[in-house]
Amino acid sequence: MSDGPILLVEDNPDDVMFTLRAFEKNHIKNEIVVASNGEEALQRLLPDDGTPPLRPALVLLDVNLPKVNGLEVLRRIRHDDRTCTLPVVVLTTSNEERDIVESYRLGANSYVRKPVVFGEFLNAANLLGMYWLLVNEPMPPRRGA
């Protein structure tokens, strides 16, 4: 069981609330750190001001973000030795082919479209939590970094 934090990169406060609620309803107890834009997410993962970097068990990444967009965040995560092995799930509204293709090309571990119906979203969050925090064997610490 990965008990590290989950980094939720999401600019829409409603979606933040729904995601927190879904994890809570699914009894996922991991700490959830929210970054409300791409720049903030990168600052957390790859700080340049001496603050200790966040090493989340899972990154949930929206695509349409202010400042630095989600795909660019993903590109930089994969480009840096310190973060290139992080599990990143793209969690977004769009099912446009180019977003899906580009996400996988940049090294996303998974691509999930946020369902409109909350019940379905709850289910998706549960599956994501189950798989990435429970089923999946994470990268051993201090190896990939």
Partner: protein, 396 residues
């Protein structure tokens, strides 16, 4: 030139009269009755002989032209060009062909000219002969064709650029729709759910029902947005034609429909070997929608029948999807292919009414046609083609 040109003077075969010598007069008569311009000039460019067409064309008499050069008759640039071509024929020693221009009353005239030198016993050239044929009309026609082609190409380039621009715009629009328009719906749906879960005790049954309706409509609108995106995708996706097996695609689609609806018994018949040069991905969408509709609208029949076949009409393959389901009133047939037009209530048959609009776009993009034929309660038949048809041809 007064030299007599000899012809054979011996008796001709089989008792034909002997040929008489051909003299200068006869040869001149021959030259005077051709539509070509014929002339002879000496090594210095002085005229020795011209034919009648030359006289007519340049309004000069043969007795006046002897001893003159082209520089006495034509503007310097044209005379220079003629002289250069004469010299070329002298230098080459063999017939040479070239295009020459003069200026007439109606603008520039173009000739195709053959020039060849005449040589004396010592092999020295002493004159040049020229035969020029007026090709101005052909030349003008060619230029016109050339210009029309250039204009047409330019127009095609402009139209292509316009089309590409509008496709890009549509693409940008669809992209923004797919990102931005669904988010507020998630909030509507999600907060209704939060209210139902967290505030159930302060909401009476009616209040809870209303929230349910908000949720149902949010979900429906989300479905409509997805359908619109599908519709725009059917327009935006690049068309790539390949040999496509419609029979195989149809069997896959039917298998999916029965898997989703295992209790239904439908008599499905799909003709073997239905092939077309078409985009397999888009044709699959066509079959999904047409067969899906047939499946849906036969739901109330225990003896449901769905058929897919092909008929050749005037050399065009016309594919037919027929069912014996609910059908529709032909009075509304013109609305059938419009987005979000439904001929049945949502309560009777689910759906947003986008399927046939997608089908039609795909068919049109293939250059094909689609028609529908039906009577209420008596099933529906859709006919479509996937290749451009001859002019004025219509699926009947």
């Amino acid at each position: 030139m007064g030299t007599e040109v000899g012809a054979e003077t011996t008796d001709g075969p089989a008792g034909r009269p002997a040929l008489r010598p051909v003299g200068h007069e006869q040869l001149m008569a021959l030259l005077d009755h051709t539509s070509a311009v014929i002339y002879m000039r000496d090594v210095d460019g002085r005229y020795l002989l011209i034919n009648r067409e030359y006289e007519r064309l340049f309004n000069v008499r043969r007795e006046d032209i002897r001893g003159l050069t082209d520089h006495d008759l034509f503007p310097a640039d044209i005379a220079d060009a003629f002289r250069a071509n004469d010299l070329r024929a002298f230098a080459r020693g063999v017939p040479v062909q070239m295009e020459e221009q003069t200026r007439g009353d109606d603008g520039e005239r173009t000739y195709i000219t053959v020039k060849f030198p005449l040589v004396d016993e010592d092999g020295r050239p002493y004159a040049v002969c020229g035969i020029s044929t007026d090709i101005t009309e052909r030349k003008r026609a060619e230029e016109q064709v050339h210009q029309l082609n250039a204009e047409l190409e330019q127009r095609v380039r402009e139209r292509t650029a316009e089309l590409e621009a509008s496709t890009r715009e549509l693409d940008a629009f669809a992209y923004s729709v797919s990102h931005d328009l669904r988010a507020p719906l998630r909030s509507l749906e999600g907060f209704s759910q939060v209210l139902l879960e967290d505030y159930a005790e302060v909401l009476d049954e009616q209040g809870q029902q209303y929230l349910g309706r908000i949720q149902a409509n949010a979900a429906r609108m989300a479905q409509m947005i997805d359908d619109l995106l599908d519709l725009s995708r059917a327009t935006r996706t690049e068309l790539s034609r390949r040999p496509t097996d419609l029979s195989a695609l149809a069997r896959e689609v039917i298998a999916e429909l029965s898997a989703r609806d295992p209790d239904r018994t439908v008599d499905v018949s799909i003709a073997d070997g239905l092939v077309a040069q078409a985009d397999p991905h888009l044709v699959r969408l066509v079959l999904q929608n047409l067969l899906g509709n047939a499946w849906k609208f036969t739901a109330n029949r225990t003896d449901a029948v769905i058929r897919l076949a092909v008929e050749a009409r005037d050399g065009v393959d016309v594919f037919t999807v027929a069912d014996n389901g609910a059908g529709f009133d032909m009075r509304y047939a013109h609305k059938l292919f419009d987005p979000f037009q439904r001929l049945h209530s949502t309560a009777e048959y689910e759906g947003t009414g986008i399927g046939l609009a997608i089908v039609q776009r795909i068919i049109v993009r293939h250059g094909g046609q689609i028609t529908a034929d039906s009577r209420p309660g008596d099933g529906a038949t859709f006919r479509f083609s996937l290749v451009p048809a001859p002019t004025d041809w219509e699926i009947r």
